[in-house]
Amino acid sequence: MTRILAAIFGGYLVAANVCGFIAALLPLPAVDATLVATMLSFAIYAVSAIRTFSLPSAMRAWLEPLLISACLYAATQMMT
């Protein structure tokens, strides 16, 4: 159960942060960077959700997305 929540919410958190990160990172016009980042985000979400179910412990299933999200968020904030 906790894994399901981790997959839905943790996965979304990762996808959202990757989305923001790519949007800030790409050296394209803002419109294009936004499009690329948003279009890719669902693939990230799917991969992240699937990964949640393949990790050995529920603890890690929560920790990983939170850590990744935190790092990406910090990086995005630094760039903008």
Binding site: A16, C19, V31, T34, L35, F42, F53, L55
Partner: protein
């Protein structure tokens, strides 16, 4: 989790699929119907079946625009905009429409549309109120009876589940190629698994494409974070940059003389050459900020964008036009969008997409039935001892009956309601939609009491007979029947009749198989329904797979 990656993926595939499969089935089914949105809308308005049909004529354009503008000028007062729809392949008639100013508390004003008879100034105004194909189109992403925004989040979440189910399904599939050519009949759950595999694998590229692009169609709502990063969450600023020619100008409130739209045609021709025009919209007529927009009919271009040229409605100067060139990123986005909506495709490809959509329905349905058959096998010992089946199993079997057998029935009820309901009742279009859900509800009620083979047979046969007799219903309740339509070349109507017949026959075929088979109940049925939609697919597939499947069925 489970002891191995493979085991945990199997578990994931099962649950991610089962939890949302009935909503997905509705979404898939409604989406498949939406490929024929305009054709269905035409069929549901028999008043338009005779004496309105016309082709697009470039040399008539000036005349049509002038008479449209004249008519709208006399007919409307203080309208928000005027629209002139020119005949296209899928909407083979000329019509004039206008939108009133929104009432207080409304986002959009009331919209009116009148159809013009060819070569005359006469209008058809007595068209029955019906949602037609738009009912299925809206059902596809707004569901029904719940706020649209909420519904879109539900559908989005289900789509995400579907994407995960597809990926995990591919992961757990050890022998895609080998399984593709093996189909074991009459082996209970084994046959189910094969039916599920066949319907999934045949259209796998389509399933992946349609699921992902489905998310893309509403992606700015689901994933606003890139806009938050680059535009501080200012959606409007982003959209203005994405589609500069779509920015609306507010009326100034000062009166000014409107020029004639027909006088702009030479300019349009200079930019677009002989490309056909789909519609002309005159916003804020008689206002100094009036705009006249021409929309091109993009025909077979793989694009979902609205190619337009916008002129000032007072001076006639060019204000903006869709760029002929766009960035690679934008082109990619555009292509993905149009792959989902298939607005670019001609009839053959549209039909192919429709059958792929039905295969998707078969994939979802066989998956749900497979689960029920397997669990029932597990519980068979207790059931034989006289204990009832578990609640979960009864629930799944009931939902299966309701949605798998009920959807075709509800669809035929919708079309009967369209022709049989009195023309003058209040909220007629809503009643048509209600009949669809009432039918579904009745099947659900039946499923509460009896989920046995006889229920399946009953529901499928009513649905099948209903669909088969739709051409007959059309002949009785509209000015023209299928023969007349073939003669006058109204292929949209002919296609509707033929396709509904074909689907109805498929359902009856499933019942026939059901009566001759000795398999457990749901298994027999669904396999045949799956087989049936595959059978219909044979025509549009390469001979090799067709042959293999013919042997399998």
């Amino acid at each position: 989790m489970k002891d191995s990656f493979f085991r945990s993926m199997t578990w994931l595939h099962t649950w991610v699929g089962l939890l949302v499969c009935w909503i997905l089935l509705v979404v898939f089914f409604a989406g498949s119907m939406s490929y024929f949105r305009h054709e269905i809308s035409l069929w549901t308005k028999p008043e338009l079946h005779s004496g309105t049909f016309q082709h697009y004529h470039a040399n008539e354009l000036g005349k049509q625009l002038a008479s449209g503008q004249k008519f709208l000028n006399e007919r409307t007062d203080n309208a928000r905009d005027w629209r002139i729809y020119l005949p296209t392949e899928r909407r083979p008639y000329l019509s004039y429409g206008w939108q009133n100013q929104p009432e207080a508390g409304q986002r959009r004003g009331e919209f009116h549309e009148l159809i013009v008879k060819p070569d005359s100034e006469e209008m058809i105004s007595e068209v029955r109120e019906s949602k037609g194909g738009n009912f299925f189109y809206r059902l596809h992403f707004d569901l029904h009876y719940i706020p649209a925004k909420f519904a879109r989040w539900i559908v989005g979440l289900c789509t995400m589940f579907m994407l995960v189910a597809l990926i995990s399904g591919i992961v757990i599939h050890k022998r895609i190629f080998k399984d593709f050519f093996s189909f074991r009949r009459n082996k209970r759950s084994r046959s189910w698994l094969d039916a599920h595999n066949v319907s999934s694998v045949i259209a796998l590229p389509y399933h992946l494409m349609i699921t992902y692009t489905g998310l893309i169609t509403l992606m700015f709502m689901y994933m606003p974070w890139a806009i938050v990063t680059n535009y501080d969450g200012d959606n409007q600023a982003f959209r203005a940059e994405l589609n500069p020619s779509r920015v609306q100008t507010k009326p100034s409130g000062q009166d000014a003389n409107l020029i004639s739209a027909a006088s702009l045609l030479p300019q349009v021709k200079r930019y677009w050459g002989e490309a056909p025009i789909k519609q002309v919209i005159i916003s804020a007529p008689h206002d100094s900020n009036s705009r006249i927009s021409f929309y091109r009919n993009n025909e077979q271009l793989v694009t979902d964008k609205r190619t337009q040229i916008v002129f000032n409605g007072v001076t006639g100067e060019l204000i903006t036009m869709s760029p002929m060139e766009e960035s690679a990123t934008h082109a990619t986005y555009d292509t993905l969008m149009s792959l989902h909506t298939a607005r670019f495709s001609d009839f053959i490809l549209r039909l192919f997409f429709f059958f792929c959509g039905l295969l998707g329905c078969a994939m979802i349905a066989t998956g749900a039935l497979l689960w029920a058959v397997k669990i029932r096998q597990k519980q068979q010992k207790q059931i034989n001892k006289g204990e009832p089946a578990s609640f979960g199993l009864r629930l799944v079997e009931g939902l299966n009956l309701t949605f798998i057998a009920g959807l075709p029935l509800a669809t035929s009820v919708f079309f009967y309601a369209n022709r049989i309901l009195p023309l003058e009742i209040q909220d007629r279009a809503q009643w048509e939609a209600d009949s669809f859900f009432i039918a579904l509800g009745l099947v659900g009620l039946l499923a509460c009491f009896n989920r046995s083979l006889s229920s399946w047979r009953l529901v499928l046969s009513i649905g099948g007979l209903g669909l088969i007799s739709l051409p007959l219903l059309n002949a009785l309740t509209s000015p023209s029947n299928i023969i007349d339509n073939i003669v006058s070349g109204q292929w949209a109507l002919v296609g509707f009749d033929l396709l509904s017949c074909l689907l109805g026959l498929g359902l009856l075929f499933a019942i026939k198989k059901l009566n001759t088979s000795s398999k457990p109940k749901s298994a027999a049925i669904k396999k045949n329904t799956a087989a049936e939609s595959q059978r219909q697919n044979l025509a549009s597939e390469n001979p090799l797979t067709a042959k293999v499947k013919e042997e399998a069925l």
